[in-house]
Amino acid sequence: MLKIRNLHARVDDKEILKGIDLDVGLGEVHAVMGPNGSGKSTLAQVLAGREDYEVTAGEVEFGGEDLLEMPPEDRAREGIFMAFQYPVEIPGVSNTYFLKAALNAIRKHQGLEEMDAIDFLKLVRAKMKLVNMDEALLNRPVNDGFSGGEKKRNEIFHMAVLEPRLAVLDETDSGLDIDALKIVSEGVNTMRSADRSFVVITHYQRILNYIEPDFVHVLVDGRIARSGGKDLALELEDKGYAWLDPKTAGTAAAAVMA
């Protein structure tokens, strides 16, 4: 589904991704962990098409197509969804109507008929339950005045309505209390299916108690330093990231990477 090969990216003059290789198969859940500044969020932004990041080398293939060639909206229309670490407030634009416009843009691109107001409302009500969303948040402007937890839930709600083929969650768990974390995780778990993949980017192991990953990757200094199963996350929780960082762990890390 998603193939990343030797991906290099920089912002301004700073190289942040220094050769990422990652394969995400259909229906798989991959967790990407790593310390601050390791490039986790950059990876998410590059996948979603943020133009501030310049890809200097490498390839990304999504469903057999060259992802890097597509503008962000086409990536979304092809089925990529990124849940933002910091969802943006858009005053004056209704959460529901905006989502309807987004869904219809995606459906149109996929050759489907646009959804009318009645069917859309049915869909929205069903998905709302998924993330335990307060109906009031539907009628408010997008993220406007939402609490941190509400914003993250709203991201999962958007994901649930747009039904992407690949969802990239950029630190959706950061800053959430345990109730909100459970709601977000349940939302994701309900969405898991044989034809939908997830990349869960996180700083903390905690969310992986609720969303069980098939694979865990550790990103250090712009490269995947280690990949493994879900046990790797537990190991990281115990040992921290330092032992994987060549700058801090010296030869030990070099041995691991070899």
């Binding site: 943020r50 501030d52 909206e73 229309r77 858009i90 905006f98 987004a102 995606i106 691109h109 958007h158």
Partner: protein
């Protein structure tokens, strides 16, 4: 009369005008003469004057504007229909003069007058004369010019305790006469009596890029405890000059709201001055201006807090494209007696192109020591992060930018209480913004 070195074409035109008016009262004639004298003395402002530094009106002096001769210039009810508002009493003025045939009058509560100033000066001189010219700053060059030419405009008088439920819509159409550029000087006076209520919309409209000069002055008096909801819609032709002054005089416990919306005109200058001359006043002055091409739009605000315990709120937003220019000068003046003043002023501008330019200058002058006053000004481009957020949900770039532009305007839109005006403005934005159909769906 002082000798003048160079006679302004505006003054030349005056002489024939003055002779043409035989029958009006002495008080109005005196007012006109005073206006002329002031204008002859000070003339058109130059860029050396502080408040005219960023707006060059020299073109006005060098263009020959004929005084509008009257008549409806071939306008038909059909042609003006797009400018009418639903469920309103529409009073229509063509080049400053009331047109009974184009107007759509409606029933008003007893004792309320809403109609032509010329008519009111003839029939209700007792109501008009004590107040006309009493509030507007007679030393302002364009107020003086307008005063010199007082002939017609709108007069509204709401007696004490009366609530006018229907909105009164004053539609001022500017148009050429036989292809020639004309100048007109609508003169308006609205008086809301004690504990009365009034909603009034002033629209200034034109067609295509016709060239004309609209120079209105509006004096608004809110007597104690009155509630006034006022709108000003600037939809002049793209070739029009519009230089307007509004003077708002408020007595104690009034609730006053005004919204100035502008997207028309080649050069638009709007001086809005509010005098809060009593305690317990709530005064809201909001605005939204959109300019593109080479349009120039200038708002000069002045709010005077003369008495304690008053609130004033100002929110002006601008959206500029191409080489458009905007000027915003906001001054809040808190007099020594005006303790417990709560004054807030904000001017925010969105630039959609590299070449658009804004001069924004909010100012506070405070002579009382127990007040809460804030002012702020921002000018910026669309937030890239927000554009990306919308695109990442499948919305195309153009639509994303339009949605955010609409969102920027939304703060002003939301405060518009009169649905007819709000809907009209929403519709305008959907039409104006690229991919507006997506914006329409998404808000």
């Amino acid at each position: 009369m002082p000798a003048v070195k160079e006679r302004s074409p505006f003054v030349e035109a005056y002489e024939s005008f003055d002779k043409s008016l035989g029958s009006q009262g002495e008080a109005v004639k005196r007012l006109r003469r005073e206006g002329l004298e002031v204008f002859e003395e000070i003339g058109l402002p130059s860029k050396r004057q502080e408040e005219w530094r960023k707006t060059n009106v020299a073109a006005l002096g060098s263009t020959s504007f004929r005084r509008a001769s009257g008549g409806t210039s071939g306008l038909t009810p059909e042609k003006i229909r797009p400018f009418l508002l639903p469920d309103c009493i529409d009073l229509v003025f063509v080049n400053g003069r009331f047109s009974a045939e184009l107007s759509r009058p409606g029933a008003l509560p007893e004792g309320v007058f809403a109609g032509s100033l010329a008519d009111a000066m003839a029939r209700h001189a007792d109501l008009v004369e004590p107040l006309l010219g009493h509030y507007a700053d007679g030393k302002h060059p364009f107020v003086a010019l307008n005063t010199a030419h007082i002939e017609d405009g709108a007069f509204i008088h709401v007696p004490r305790g009366v609530a006018v439920e229907k909105t009164i819509h004053l539609l001022f159409l500017g148009t050429t006469e036989g292809g020639e550029a004309v100048v007109s000087y609508p003169r308006n006076l609205f008086v809301a009596g004690q504990s009365s209520q009034l909603t009034v919309v002033e629209s200034y409209c034109g067609f295509g890029d016709e060239r004309y000069f609209h120079c209105p002055v509006t004096e608004i008096v809110g007597e104690a405890n009155s509630v006034l909801d006022h709108y000003r819609l600037g939809q002049e032709s793209l070739g029009a000059y519009h230089v307007a002054t509004q003077k708002i005089h408020l007595e104690r416990d009034t609730n006053f709201f005004t919204h100035s919306i502008n997207h028309g005109g080649a050069l638009v200058r709007n001086d809005i001055q509010a005098m809060l001359d009593g305690e317990g006043i709530h005064c809201t002055l909001n605005g939204l201006y959109l300019a593109r091409g080479a349009q120039h739009v200038d708002h000069q605000m002045r709010v005077d807090h003369a008495k304690p315990n008053c609130h004033s709120y100002e929110l002006f937003k601008g959206i500029l494209e191409d080489r458009a220019r905007a000027v915003f000068n906001g001054r809040i003046y808190v007099h020594q007696d005006a303790q417990k003043t709560d004054a807030k002023q904000s001017n925010r501008n969105l630039l959609l192109s590299k070449d658009a330019l804004v001069h924004s200058n909010p100012q506070l002058e405070i002579f009382a020591d127990d007040v809460r006053c804030t002012h702020g000004s921002t000018t910026g481009h669309l937030d890239d992060e927000a554009v990306f957020y919308l695109r990442s949900r499948g919305i195309g770039e153009e639509a994303a930018r339009s949605l955010l532009t609409y969102s920027f305007a939304g703060e002003v839109l939301d405060e518009i209480r009169l649905e007819a005006v709000r809907k009209d403005l929403e519709e305008f934005l959907f039409t104006r913004l690229p991919k507006g159909n997506i914006v329409r769906q998404a808000v």
